[in-house]
């Protein structure tokens, strides 16, 4: 009997592993398809602008609010610690460094994943379960070209820009707490920030943001295209898409940070 159970377990493990590997392989084929269509086929400007408006314009409010409060809170926390060492003057620099290199891209990625990625998956999965994507295929139109590529291009163009807004407004938040609460001299705040936070920090942050944009667009659209099973399927696809995007962002963040620190 135990031999039989072990056999079933090994069988199950084999099938599961194969299924996962096949899914990963298919994901990479899909990524190749999206990339080749992005660079080789004619763009759809109207659809790209529609997505730019949705991802960029409609997310700006939440990005600015979150950026401001993140900068302010980070300033408060770091300012409290720096005060112990009589180094409050460095709080602006520390906050700006953290915002440009890490908090800006990461928080923007999280926010966009929750607000935009979930909407992309929900929209595409609803289209899938309502046969709208089947109709598109039946009309000889490639859903990847029509639905995914414009979202991919728009995400890649606008999410790093949102990240810059996040960093900028975050620094303003930190400035208000530094100058207003910790009585840091305005000149010192700005001078130290300019001294310690270099353009390469901004460049590194933008690289991360661009990678996160790619992940959000690809993962969200993929889950949407593969959805099945009515309203419940839409819910499952949306949840899985957001969770996967967040995990992918965190994993890639570690990897990119390591590469940036090491090389």
């Amino acid at each position: 009997m135990p031999v039989k159970t072990a056999e079933i377990a090994v069988n199950w493990l084999g099938v599961e592993t194969t299924n996962r590997l096949v899914a990963i392989g298919r994901f990479f084929v899909y990524v190749g398809d999206v990339l080749s269509q992005t660079f080789r086929k004619a763009m759809r400007p109207a659809l790209i602008f529609q997505q730019l408006e949705f991802i960029g314009n409609q997310s700006l409010g939440i990005i600015l609010m979150t950026g401001f409060f993140t900068g302010a809170v980070f300033g408060l926390q770091i300012g409290g610690i720096f005060q112990i060492f009589k180094a409050e003057g460095l709080m602006g620099a520390a906050t700006a460094k953290a915002l440009t290199r890490e908090l800006g891209p990461l928080m923007t990625g999280f926010l966009i994943s929750g607000r935009v990625g979930s909407a992309m998956t929900a929209e595409l999965s609803t289209m899938r379960v309502n046969e709208q994507i089947d109709a598109m295929e039946a009309m000889g139109v490639d859903p990847v070209n029509y639905l995914v590529v414009p979202r991919f291009i728009a995400s890649l163009a606008i999410i790093p820009l949102l990240c810059i807004f996040f960093i900028f407004i975050g620094v303003i938040g930190a400035y208000i707490t530094g100058v207003g609460i910790f009585k840091v001299d305005v000149g010192i705040f700005i001078e130290k920030m300019a001294q310690i936070c270099t353009p390469s920090d901004i460049w590194d942050g933008l690289q991360k943001s661009a990678v996160f944009a790619v992940l959000i667009a690809l993962i969200s659209c993929r889950f949407g295209l593969l959805a099945s099973g009515g309203a419940k399927g839409v819910g499952i696809a949306t949840t899985n898409s957001v969770v996967t995007s967040l995990l992918a962002i965190l994993c890639c963040d570690v990897f990119i940070t390591y590469m940036q620190v090491k090389f």
Binding site: Q132, D134, E137, M139
Partner: protein
């Protein structure tokens, strides 16, 4: 002409199309009937190149489409217009944008000509002047008719209807059936292929009926052939009796 030769399709151990041979003549209204799960939709998906057979050939206008790659299939699919069971209109687009969609994607027609064609097909299905409305503002019957207008707008050679009257009230069903006849009569060279459970409509509307049973053709012929057949499976299906030789899954 459409021809299926020894087409086999299995999902796991379940064989849905079992060396299926069928012929759909050009220019006629052909109904593909059969009980649920007999492979009607799978047959249509194979015809559209949305599914690939495990073996066999699908020959459309003399070309075997089973060897086509995805790019070639996309071009091939332009021969077809399809009315989906739930119309499958893009709900983020207006009626006008839905109907113009195939023209925008596949033709280089000037915009005024496209708009004129949209108005023409909407009039053909009895819904002129509703281009500005969204699908959510339409009744189920109107959605079907807009779906039909979209299927017809690019002047396809084959129009496929997937359960066009399922879930419709008798009046709307009658109207859709009349539209199928009208389109087949008025649009030159078009062939209509209808998947349906609706036997009354099949007998009244079809010029050719194909009944699928256990992955094969149980009977193919004119409505009169079906009325006078002695095949027990066909007779049971037409009488709607549970008792008989027909196996239920």
């Amino acid at each position: 002409m459409i021809e299926f030769k020894d087409v086999r399709k299995a999902f796991g151990k379940r064989v849905v199309l079992d060396d299926l041979d069928l012929v759909i003549p050009p220019g006629k209204i052909t109904f593909i009937i059969g009980k649920s799960g007999e492979g009607k939709s799978v047959t249509i998906k194979h015809l559209m190149g949305l599914m690939h057979p495990d073996r066999g050939q699908i020959i459309v206008d003399g070309e075997n489409i089973t060897g086509f790659d995805e790019e070639k299939l996309r071009i091939y699919r332009r021969k077809f217009g399809m009315l989906f069971q739930n119309a499958a209109l893009f709900d983020s687009l207006t009626v006008g944008e839905n109907v113009i969609f195939p023209l925008r994607e596949h033709t280089r027609m000037p915009l005024p000509a496209m708009l004129e064609r949209v108005e023409e097909v909407l009039s053909m299905v009895g819904l002129p002047g509703i281009q500005h409305k969204y699908p959510t503002e339409l009744s189920t019957g109107e959605k079907k008719r807009v779906g039909l207008a979209r299927a017809l707008v690019a002047k396809p050679k084959f129009v496929l209807y997937d359960e066009p009257t399922t879930g419709m009230d008798p009046l709307v069903s009658e109207m859709i059936d009349e539209l199928i006849v009208q389109i087949n009569r008025d649009v030159p060279g078009v062939s209509s292929i209808v998947i349906s459970h609706d036997l009354k409509a099949a007998l009244a509307t079809a010029e050719n009926i194909i009944m699928l049973y256990q992955g094969k053709v149980a009977l193919a012929g004119t409505p009169d052939d079906f009325r006078h057949t002695s095949d027990p499976v066909v007779r049971q299906f037409f009488s709607g009796r549970v008792e008989g030789p027909m196996e239920f899954l």
